[in-house]
Amino acid sequence: MNSVILMAGSRILVALLLVFSVFMLLRGHNEPGGGFIGGLIGAVGFVIYAIACGTSSAREALRVPPETVAAAGLGVALLGGVWAAVDGDAFFTGQWLFLGATEDSKGLPLSSVLVFDVGVYLVVFGSILSLVFALEEEV
């Protein structure tokens, strides 16, 4: 697809969509969003980029093969589960760290649940991209 407008626009669009996807991922615990939605948005961003500029440049932009991203995501998700086991709780029990917590503020909440959600994000993102890239290249 040789549309200059689309090519130029897609660069901005993919950046925006990626930022938005991370935003959706992070706010997911309290507002609509989360790993599934974030991963899908991120994947859609890259799919647009691949359609506009070709799969090879999309692969270049991603730097890591999407299959690796997906597999690593499963590992990250597992890590979120194992964290609890290390702490002595049942597998996949949520573990929370409140960084800089004070009397009236919880500070920055970091949790094994977030790690797990990041894993979900990466699996969804990587799986879809590996599929779409492969189809674009071979079909």
Binding site: P32, G34, G35, I37, I51, S111, F116
Partner: protein, 755 residues
Amino acid sequence: MAAAHGTDWRLRAFAPAVLPVVIFVWAAGHLPAVAAGGTVRLAWDWVPSLGVSLSFLIDGLSLTFALLISGIGAVVMLYSGQYLSGHEHYGRFMGYLTAFMLAMLGLVLADNLIALFVFWELTTVTSYLLIGFGHADAKSRRSALQALLVTGTGGLALLAGFILIGSVAGSFELSEVLAQPGVLTDHPWYLAILILVLAGAFTKSAQFPLHFWLPNAMAAPTPVSAYLHSATMVKGGVYLLARMHPGLGGTEPWFWSLTVFGAFTAVFASVLALRQSDLKQVLAYTTLMALGTLTLFLASGVDVAITAAVTFLIVHSLYKACLFLAVGNIDHATGTREVSRLTGGLARAMPVTTVAAGLAALSMAGFPPFLGFIGKELKYKGILAVASEPYVVVAAVLAANALMFAAAAVVAFRPFWGRGTPELEPGATPHEAPWPMWIGPAALALLGVVFGLMPDLAAVLVDPAVVAILPAGTPYELKLWHGVNVPLLLSIATFVLGLGLYLASDRLRAGLAAIEARNPVHFDRGWDRVLDGVKAFAGWQTRLVQSGELRVYLRLTFATFLAALGGTMLARGIGVPAVALPQLLAKEWAVIVLIVAGTALVVLTRSRVAAIAGLGVVGIGVALVFIIYGAPDVAITQLLVETLVVVLVAVVLLRMPRLYSEGRVIHRPVDAVLAVAIGGATTAVLLLVLEVPLDRRLTTWFEETSWPEAFGRNIVNVILVDFRALDTFGEIAVVLIAALSAFVLIKGIRREGRE
């Protein structure tokens, strides 16, 4: 053969016997405690949630069996070390044999029914491997498969029986089941349990009419025949009968089924034993006879009959293992096992084998002062005590014993002492077997004498076993000399009759062969016909169901689904609830119209692009439903997925041919009826579900704990990543697997020659 002639006393020769000897010594260490009336129980949890444990019970019965298994195991392993030395699969053979021994020990020691079943099947599997050891020979393979199928089918019946026992008695622990007298025999399921358990025991112990696998199993190497198919494995069924005797025995069905099957097998097999022309086959049929006799004696609950059974069990294991191994030596020395070719003259060449076989045969024939004599006297006494029709049963046992006498002479007298000379295979010279091959048989034969001369020694094994079978009984005293009485007179009659049968054995064999040739009933061939029938049925059924057409499979699946759903509703008399058309908002109408229109477009259009557009419309309509009814997360996901589906479909579909290459739409009224019926059923089910008040307990719990405990305000997300994180983990794993599989399908297989 030079090495085989020499006396190789090197330690290496003992190696195969080490494990069984260690087990034997361990088991023998329990003898004093068990003889004093004690039991030892060892237990480990296995599948505690199902009540399955690895528990073992050492009592009189299991200890006697364990000693026989490990003791004869030592003899057989030592023997095999020589018999198969240099064989290319020697290691495999010894591995199988060891595995079998351990499984068999597990079978007799297990106190848990499920564990017992597992060990039971393990003996079946190892027996299969050992019978089929000479796998290059089609006959071996057939025999192995036959044994596996017959005993394996029996094993399945046994499992069903065990499960029934477990649910009736409330425990799978044998000691707990048997400690409740009458719990099985008084239960309405008793007959079913009995039939299932007997099916297992009778197939394993080769009772008529499923006896045919045992003679065929003689295709195995001789040590295997000696060990599995005479001394131990086939006694597994007898063991089971003895073990279950306190729980299932003492009833009319038990008594009659064991008496009829046992007696018939005994007589039938002993007649056929004389028909055989191969020494191993003669022994195989006498083994059948012994198994029948043991079954017969376990029918009743009379002390002397049970004592007779246990004594005969030990006697038989000792002499039969010895005789099989001796036949192996004859085979080794002459290259043949044909009765007609072994008419004498081997005594000088193989002195030790001659003596060992002679002693074993005397025990088998029941001469004093051998243990076999005690066993035979007890049998007569037992029959006289039990039978309501003593003359018929006594005549049967007398005939069987006499035939056994003759068979013993055919196997262990004539080849060595007969007047003829052996017809050797070319190149064979009769010679004594190397020591590992005669020391075991000699030891077993000597034990028969020792036990006979010192019955108190045998009683150490026999008495606790009898008590285990008959907790309330008193073992009958083992004695060589009971004075002149009916059993003694019957013994003398046995000898006279047996001698006559032996002298006439050649003519009898010819006569029986002639009868057999005219006999239309042939179990072995019948079995083949059964198998052919099963195969033909499977073929017919496969052709019927597995047409190879996707649409047929789908139709069958959908039709089955519909039948199950509709059948349940009809059977329960559930009607579809009436629906009052509610007042809908405009946006709700809009969504419904959208989805209906999209669906109609997909079904009716002939254009790919229009169909894809229709799918998109439906997807967006569904997403709108989610938005209207408070599910933003789901709606966003749905919209994004919808986008990606369109991308994928656009990439792939547009490179495939048109929907209707021939340019016309085919109407399929049958499919349409099926489709509408399934759609209607789905609607009905959902309406029925909506009739029932919703159980919101789980939802309420999630709502209440989401923030206080999981620190999340988006309940859906908290469920996904915290409350049900393990599920989600499984789901993303599925997504990954689907993507990687598709990736491999796209990229992976590059066939050569594809343009």
